[in-house]
């Protein structure tokens, strides 16, 4: 079932506005890929383009090397940003219906609906109307709708938005499990800490263009080294400002984040810190995703 998604040169204009500008990236099988970008960057338009929900001015969406058609889309799972379920329909009926639209038999769809509701912890709500469910539970039903038919590609637009920590853990856990089982997972989010925890790779776009793409580990360890230093009793970073080749990126309650140039020796920094007082923290830090994100948008 492994497959990979390729977006090639996607371009979409709405009048004067260019929502997607020759955007290309790929999503490999077995990975959870975070899709990041500021508001209005074109994330939702990209996801809608994968499902043919918006016309493209140019570009192709490919699945395993071939242009995506309706038959392939039936094997994909989609969770739109603005959740979509029939408010007055019973949860189990709704899932069974959506499963059947994905080509499942009636009994298989009903069975899958039951087991997913069970797995997401809302089996007792199967006979309730969707509109009677809380936001978090509606989101779980929406995820079940995307997963029901065992999709080869899962595209989720802000699946974690508005969830409480247990909800994030449940849905995040499911996404990782699906990827481990060979599914291709692409999801967008503004919660960068969670993206860092869940994703192997990220794609960052801005103004409809690709800015950064790669594995989270590679992005975190690439670029300049970062040091976190705390000197007892010192609240500012005056001691560091004199050291050549160092940039102070952040001072937070006595904890100083430094960006080191290639030529700077870590020992030099340690000596400068010790000269200022007793050093209680001295850690070589990975770049956080939020920093990668900010740099990508610069």
């Amino acid at each position: 079932m492994a497959g990979h998604l390729e977006l090639e040169n996607l371009t979409r204009r709405f009048g004067e506005l260019t929502a997607l500008d020759h955007l290309s990236f790929s999503v490999p099988a077995g990975q959870v890929v975070g899709f990041l970008g500021p508001n209005g960057a074109g994330k939702t338009t990209t996801m809608r383009a994968i499902f043919g929900l918006t016309d493209l001015d140019a570009g192709t969406v490919r699945w395993n090397g071939a242009p995506v058609s309706q038959a392939e889309r039936r094997r994909f799972g989609y969770m739109p940003e603005e959740r979509g379920l029939y408010p007055g329909m019973l949860v189990a009926d709704q899932l069974a219906y959506l499963g059947r639209l994905h080509g499942m038999s009636a009994s298989a769809a009903a069975g899958a609906a039951g087991s997913w509701l069970d797995r997401l912890g809302i089996a007792d709500r199967a006979g309730d109307k969707v509109e009677s469910l809380s936001h978090g539970n509606q989101q779980r039903v929406q995820l079940a709708a995307a997963l029901l038919h065992g999709p080869e590609l899962l595209v989720l637009d802000e699946p974690l938005a508005g969830l409480d920590p247990p909800g994030i853990d449940t849905i995040g856990g499911v996404l990782v499990e699906e990827a481990r089982a060979g599914c291709c997972v692409l999801f967008s989010s503004h919660q960068l800490d969670q993206v860092e925890d869940l994703c192997e790779s990220v794609v960052i776009i801005d103004h409809g263009r690709l800015t950064t793409e790669g594995r989270v580990d590679d992005l975190a360890t690439s670029g300049a080294r970062r040091l976190v230093v705390r000197v007892e009793g010192v609240r500012d970073a005056a001691w560091a400002r004199g050291v050549p080749g160092i940039t102070v990126s952040e001072v937070d309650g006595g904890e100083v984040r430094l960006v080191l140039e290639e030529s700077v020796d870590v020992d030099t920094v340690l000596r400068a810190a010790m000269a200022a007082g007793r050093v209680t923290t001295f850690v070589l830090e990975r770049r956080r995703l939020s920093e990668v994100f900010r740099e990508a948008l610069r």
Binding site: R48, Q70, R74, F76, E82, Y86, Y97, R100, L101, G150
Partner: protein, 439 residues
């Protein structure tokens, strides 16, 4: 004839249910394999999706309280319309006439003819004396008493405006017996008097084409109300159903797997089948009830009017459903719907009112005759022309063909509007914008 029609309608409803069950079995299929378990016929995926969407509509609508309560309400109204007139006129119950003294054949023929003339029958009850006849009248065992062929006695005075069956019979009998006595006084032989007394009225024919029977006209009025109610209700369902899918954003999930045209077709087909099932149920119920209580509503050409009304309900729905679906795809809020509902309902209301007026006056005006060929108003005008006997089969067929051809054109246009508008959110979509820039 009526039993045959009722049977056909019920058989149709059963056939539709079986068809859906078979479709459901036929379209069962695979999981994860991307349709490996689906039927291998190339068109099966398309009809399967349309069938799935339609059967969801059927299931959800049948399950809804609105539908069940609405159906019961319509049945109650129809039952009232059929039963109440038969209760007030009571044509089925014969009048009981007490007879004191001898009853010559001429007098008997005269009484029977008088009863037939006012649409009833008479049972003669011999009474030994005037006193016993008065007692029987008082107890209600007889409706009137004929004493010695020379006087009619009733319980209460008969007022000039009284239209009850007894009053009509007594007036007719009194008049008829008076004439019979006059013939006897003119010394006609008893056989001659009997012949004259049993006279039947002459048939009356007109130079202009027939204006239909009274019962056919009444049936066409009932049919007009039914068509108007159903077209309004089911088209509103289409409008609101499409809008709900758009406003709840479920449309994105649906269109990620099915094509817009499949979704649209499934929806109008599903709701259309609900409408047809309900209409068939109402018609079958009306036929069975009218037959049971001996209502004149279905006599003469009325069954033909009923069949043409049903046919035009289907044609009218087929035409309007696309228009309402396209309109629904352009709005996403209740207040936006209100702005569309009025202009959409105008042709329906116009056709309905002109149809009612024609059925009321009993003559087909030039306007109604023209409207019978316009697809927007034909569902109302054409059944009325049938009821008035003012249309030939080829004219009927021509109008149906015009309607079907227009439906095809409207459906194509509506599908384009729907496809372009359904995913546009954030305010009412304008037609001009839709065709200026594409989706």
């Amino acid at each position: 004839m009526i039993r045959l029609l009722a049977g056909a309608v019920i058989a149709g409803v059963v056939a539709v249910r079986i068809w859906f069950r078979v479709r459901r079995h036929r379209t069962t299929g695979g999981h994860r394999t991307g349709g490996g378990g689906r039927s291998r016929l190339p068109w099966a995926g398309v009809t399967g999706d349309v069938g799935l969407v339609a059967s969801r509509e059927l299931r959800e609508r049948f399950r809804g309280r609105v539908f069940r309560v609405g159906t019961l309400f319509i049945l109650a109204v129809v039952a009232g319309a059929i039963v109440i007139p038969t209760l007030t006129s009571s044509p089925a119950r014969p009048r009981r006439l007490g007879v004191v003294g001898a009853l010559p054949p001429a007098t008997m023929a005269s009484v029977t003819a008088a009863a037939r003339g006012v649409g009833t029958t008479v049972v003669l009850v011999p009474e030994p004396s005037t006193a016993s006849a008065r007692a029987a009248l008082h107890d209600g065992r007889i409706d009137a008493a004929l004493v010695d062929g020379s006087e009619i006695v009733v319980e209460a005075p008969i007022r000039p405006g009284d239209t009850s069956a007894t009053a009509q019979f007594v007036r007719a009998a009194a008049s008829s017996l008076g004439v019979t006595r006059a013939f006897e006084a003119a010394r006609l032989t008893p056989t001659q008097v009997a012949t004259v007394a049993g006279a039947r009225p002459l048939p009356v024919s007109s130079i202009q084409p027939g204006t239909g029977t009274g019962s056919a006209k009444s049936t066409s009025v009932v049919g007009l109300v039914l068509v108007f109610m159903m077209l309004t209700q089911y088209n509103t369902w289409i409008l609101m159903g499409v809008m709900e899918e758009k406003s709840s954003r479920v449309i994105e999930v649906l269109l990620a797997t099915v094509r817009p045209l499949q979704l649209l077709t499934g929806k109008v087909l599903g709701i259309g089948l609900v409408a047809f099932a309900q209409a068939s149920l109402v018609v079958a119920f009306a036929l069975a009830l009218a037959e049971g209580v001996g209502s004149p509503l279905l006599h003469g050409t009325a069954p033909l009017v009923l069949v043409s009304t049903l046919l035009w309900l289907v044609l009218g729905y087929a035409f309007y459903c696309w228009v309402y679906a396209a309109a629904g795809s352009m709005v996403e809020r209740q207040d936006q719907v209100q702005g569309l509902a009025l202009p959409l309902s105008l042709p329906l209301v116009f056709g309905y009112i002109t149809g009612l007026m024609a059925a009321g006056t009993g003559s087909a005006s030039a306007l109604v005759t023209v409207l019978a060929y316009v697809p927007l108003t034909a569902p109302f005008s054409m059944p009325v022309l049938v009821a008035l006997g003012a249309v030939t089969w080829w004219q009927f067929t021509l109008s149906a063909v015009i309607s079907i051809a227009s439906t095809v054109a409207v459906a194509r246009l509506a599908a384009t509007v729907y496809r372009r508008a359904i995913l546009r959110t954030g305010g009412r979509v304008r037609l001009r914008a839709l065709f200026a820039t594409g989706r």
